[in-house]
Symmetry: C4
Subunit: 230 residues, 4 copies
């Protein structure tokens, strides 16, 4: 983890259309597990750099080390990091098909090889308001439970990972799966992955090599689209 990795992750997600004006990538500090790093509130998601990545104390919610104002929804990340020691990074954004399914009250379910990590019908947080209080952060973390992602109806999604690379590739894959699910539902039929398929697909896609390849692809694609040009 490094502030530079978070900044590149935000630009990658902005470049591939998963993130727009808002949204954040947060990561636990490797050396100080009660501290998280996150992109600041105002810095543009298309031009954020390492100096726009700020720190928050997970115990108090207070800023550490100065810098720009944290995002108004930083309690999303604080509540989850505090409940889930296995989580090293979290992405929050508002991808179009995940949001559309939620507005139609359709739970996100795994239907393609990209979506295996979803594991089964995803939990949905049935409140569209911004997560800008500690109380709402805790409610959201409760809705997430021990899963890899939670959908926020009319709002977006929160995805967890062991590290930034995993959280970033998972949100890309979640949206890809959501698009396939959406398109199939619009035809009136849906064939979700079965238990045996889920198990086999997750064995294949959860390796370090698969993760490294997926993240490198996203980064290279963003680089070619000019996302890192300053």
């Amino acid at each position: 983890m490094s502030p530079d990795l978070i900044a590149r992750a935000v630009r990658i997600l902005n470049s591939n259309g998963i993130m727009h004006k808002s949204g954040h990538v947060a990561a636990r500090d490797d050396g100080a597990p009660h501290v998280m790093w996150i992109n600041s509130r105002q810095a543009s998601r298309s031009s954020v750099t390492a100096k726009d990545i700020v720190r928050i104390d997970l115990r108090t919610g207070a800023s550490v080390g100065g810098g720009d104002e944290p995002p108004s929804e930083s309690d999303i990340h604080r509540s989850i990091f505090n409940r889930r020691p296995d989580v090293g990074a979290i992405v929050h954004s508002h991808p179009r098909y995940i949001v559309a399914l939620s507005v139609a009250d359709q739970p996100l379910v795994p239907v393609t090889i990209d979506g295996g990590f979803i594991g089964g019908p995803a939990p949905t947080f049935d409140d569209a308001r911004h997560i800008n209080t500690p109380e709402r952060g805790d409610l959201l973390a409760g809705a997430l439970g021990d899963r890899n992602l939670v959908v926020l109806r009319g709002h977006g999604v929160v995805v967890t990972g062991r590290n930034v690379e995993e959280a970033v590739t998972r949100i890309v894959h979640a949206e890809s799966n959501a698009q396939a699910q959406y398109l199939a539902l619009a035809l009136g039929a849906l064939h979700p992955l079965g238990a045996e398929e889920l198990a086999a697909i997750n064995r294949t896609t959860s390796s370090d090599k698969a993760l490294q390849k997926a993240f490198a692809y996203e980064e290279e694609t963003a680089r070619r689209a000019g996302a890192f040009d300053d």
Copy 2:
């Protein structure tokens, strides 16, 4: 307000797909409230500059200060500015999902955090003809009433704001909301925002800081896409 801001606003909306060959951004003159500035009829929306921004007397509809011909639909803006002293800027364009909903006789309703400012089912003007007479302008302004936007069936939308930045970001958010609404309706279900959600979301998104961030993002995105290269 400045002619340059209007020109940049038009290029931003052309770059992000909200505006195409037609459409306008109009703003009330800060020092002369009975005068509005607006992009001219013929200037290409992708290459308009400050010198293509013309002035109209809101009392008479006459051009002020010369320059290119005003748009054929400038009565949209004149009628609204005359009825709504709270309005400082107006955008008219033809975004695809807002138009599609209107062709299906579906009122635009707020369903996501982007759409909170819509406030409730949006008024629809049930006449697809161009607004190229003072009479039609007044009818449209009547349909708008005290709302933030009015949909023109088979045609487009008109969005108001306190200033150019607000009107521009609002039309972007209206189309984003329309897309989510459209996609959900195609699945046969729609979960609109409730009253408590609307109130909370609007408190969060109506701040100057939120507006500044949203407009800066649109501008930066357009800049990176080459919209300001000449």
Copy 3:
């Protein structure tokens, strides 16, 4: 009319997604009304230049003046030019929403201000085969009759105009209208333009000034997208 204009028109339509590997723009020779100019069979639609524009004698179908092989479907254009002295230019391509409507056996109808020129439900040629014989060309011209466009089921569309600029902008507007119609139909409802709306819209959009503006916009957009870079 000039070979260079046809080449630019093809690149414009390739750049905005209306034309892909196939499709043609044809124009009647200003000085020799029994001769048409058309882009050649093999020249790539993204890099065609004036030297790839060939001539055909409308009376015999024979090539005039040498150059590359004409398109295999040049009988589309020959049959229509021979029956319709009012037509100065013709575009044939395969836009996605027009084709999708035809595969669903839905006639294209005018629903937005862009689609006024369609005039009413468009004729459909119910044969997906390529128009690569004089007989099929004549059947297609018969299906077109005195209209501005004819849809080819499972294949594409043929659009006429007084000149290249009009035929090009009309196919862009036809596809824009088709998209709005498609999206509305997917919601199960459709509000077509009424007779009074059609008349008023066509008065507004058929002027030379409106045509000039629409074509200039398409050309400027293509230029900014690099379509004319060699």
Copy 4:
């Protein structure tokens, strides 16, 4: 066939959105019919070069001549090449509309002039798991039979050709046809190509000249989009 052609083919498919982080293009060695060439497992699909193309012995599945690790799903290609001496090249990827149709349990059928080569309802392999064992490769090859493509439900598609150019253009055309089919099905109606239409269209589109034109177009489009810039 050359390693450079395979590398360009992968970049073409990545550039036009048919391929993303995974997928492969494989070709039989012209001089050694029991050897295939294929892009390696880890090389990014957007920047692959000839040195990332590796060889596999079709009899044993063993790597030939060293280099990077082959893809985990290389048994797709090995099983098909072993059963189908007429096949010179194979593409595997995960195009969005083909996948969406499969998730809705809708067989891919030819509906447009692009899809003629599909010939009739395409076979579907009803197992979403990766094809990463020789046994699964053989089952998939059996499902393909003597057809030109087989759909993998919730996963993707495998398309064959006489050579790389044909396999590449066929997968592009299959996805184009799938999109038209999808859009029509979402309106609740579908008009597939009839037998006479299929025969005529395939006569027209199967010529060497048509293939050369289609591949050259894809390559030129990718080149203009910067896919070959390094």
